[in-house]
């Protein structure tokens, strides 16, 4: 008996995020993006670095169709981001905004985490299980019935992450996840993000945090991708850093830091 014929190789999963030639100008004429190309394969954690005003947040708002591109395309897991797929895309792209008080708008933590899946039609026991699971993943299950304004800032940020985890996203987009966090909350959030096992795009200008969490980084400067490579290599390229107003904190040497999990 001959061994069975090997079938055709399984098609590779489409990348979690594929941005092609994305350009955008705000209605007031200010051009923020000039043809951005970015591919994030499944399961990868990528940092999107850039100085203030480089267009990082503008790019993030294209990923779930809040802003519609002037030119170019965005696709999430092979699904084009356009009007026809808006609901599905917003479920698959979990954006965690910079200010958790903007993100947590429901009266209690539990209802806030339930909002996304409930908007997608989930109800009853299944919804409860989803909420509990999301809160457990960020270590906040004991706070389900609390109103968000009774939590510390770090706790609110973690709940904000849970609100998007609850929709089972394909990709997590974090806008400045480390801003306003004290060192302990920073570390806790880093541990959580590392253990998620999810595609992550982290928008930040916190370079040590990028090095700690993301093996790969891209630099967005003046509306284009100016560099794309291993985070440590980019951070060690002093000329590149200087050219794009990216500066390492005093005393931080990316060469000597041991990155956990590598």
């Amino acid at each position: 008996m001959s061994p069975p014929e090997p079938g055709p190789p399984a098609p590779a999963a489409p990348p979690s995020l594929e941005v092609r030639g994305l350009a955008y100008a705000y209605p007031d004429g200010h051009q923020a993006l000039f043809g951005v190309d970015l591919t994030v394969p499944r399961g990868e954690r990528v940092a999107l670095l850039g100085p203030n005003g480089a267009g990082k947040t503008t790019l993030a708002l294209h990923l779930n169709g809040i802003l519609a591109p002037g030119a170019g395309t965005v696709a999430v897991a092979g699904l084009p981001v356009d009007r026809a797929h808006l609901a599905e895309v917003r479920r698959m792209v979990g954006i965690v905004f910079q200010d958790p008080d903007d993100q947590l708008f429901m009266p209690t933590v539990r209802e806030d985490v339930a909002f996304g899946p409930a908007a997608a039609g989930l109800r009853g026991a299944e919804l409860e299980a989803r909420v509990r699971d999301a809160l457990t993943r960020v270590g906040m299950e004991a706070y389900a019935e609390r109103p968000p304004h009774h939590l510390s800032f770090g706790q609110r940020r973690r709940v904000a992450v849970a609100t998007v985890l609850a929709t089972r996203p394909e990709i997590l987009v974090l806008d400045e996840p480390s801003s306003n966090l004290d060192p302990a909350s920073r570390r806790e959030l880093a541990t959580i993000l590392r253990d998620l096992d999810l595609t992550v795009l982290m928008v930040t200008h916190d370079l040590p945090y990028a090095l700690e969490l993301c093996p790969r980084s891209v630099v967005l400067s003046d509306g284009v991708i100016a560099a794309d490579g291993a985070t440590r290599d980019l951070l060690c390229d002093e000329e590149l850093m200087r050219a794009h107003r990216l500066e390492l904190p005093f005393g931080f040497d990316p060469r000597s830091v041991r990155v956990p999990g590598t």
Binding site: I66, R90, F105, P107, T108, F115, A118
Partner: protein, 238 residues
């Protein structure tokens, strides 16, 4: 009391107040009966009497209006302690005072036994327009945040040596109020973005549907039913 579904309690308070306001004002005994009924429920709900009576203070501005009535109203006048008072005015004042106080007392009881959050769920269940419920729940969520922002602005003003002492400083306060409005408005826009990002399409999904059993409805109906009986007695015995 605390455990009863919020929408039942809302309906009960509404019916109670309706019964109170439709009682003839001359039926003084009926109002005493209402007060006793409420007091009994307060006792049953284990709300401390002090808290209950203390919160009645919010009624004071209306009381001031009622006190004025006997002096300004028309009609035959009576002499009392050297004061000339209008008789219909006195009845009018009594009417406002008695019905107002009972209404406020019932609402205070509702507020003391029901969380704000639960009240909103109750209103939602009673099919209040969802926009109104959404506005109220956002007020509940962001009220603290806005007060906090206001406090920070006051600290910032004070830190630069500003103290509001008179009319000349109202301009500064008005500008602060304007800045606060703009900040809240911008926050509103950011919150809206965050809501859209999580699949908001105009309606907030109902996550907690409050339900009531027949027995719970029956229990909450006791107070308004008793009030209705008192009201009818008031009309019949007039």
């Amino acid at each position: 009391m605390h455990a009863l579904p919020p929408h039942c309690k809302l309906v009960a308070v509404l019916c109670f107040v309706l019964a109170v306001v439709s009682t003839p004002r001359e039926a003084v005994g009926a109002f005493a009966a209402y007060a006793l009924l409420l007091a009994a429920v307060v006792r049953l709900a284990r709300v401390p009497f002090r808290t209950w009576l203390g919160r009645l203070v919010i009624e004071v501005p209306f009381v001031a209006f009622a006190v004025l009535l006997p002096f300004v109203a028309e009609g035959p006048r009576v002499e009392w302690l050297g004061l000339s008072l209008s008789e219909p005015g006195l009845w009018g004042a009594w009417n406002v005072l008695a019905k107002g106080t009972l209404g406020v007392a019932a609402s205070v009881l509702l507020a003391a036994t029901t969380e704000l959050r639960a009240l909103l769920l109750g209103l939602q269940r009673l099919r209040l327009p969802p926009q109104l419920v959404q506005i109220a729940s956002f007020m509940l969520r962001y009220g603290d945040l806005i007060t906090d922002e206001m406090r920070r602005m006051r600290v910032a003003r004070a830190s630069r040596g500003f103290e509001a002492r008179g009319v000349r400083h109202w301009g500064v306060l008005a500008k602060s109020a304007g800045a606060l409005f703009i900040r809240s408005y911008e926050r509103g826009e950011r919150v809206h973005l965050a809501m859209l990002s999580r699949g908001y399409t105009g309606t907030v999904p109902v996550i907690d549907e409050v339900t009531a059993t027949r027995a719970q409805w029956a229990r909450t109906a006791v107070l308004p039913a008793a009030a209705l009986a008192v009201c009818l007695a008031g009309w019949l015995l007039r």
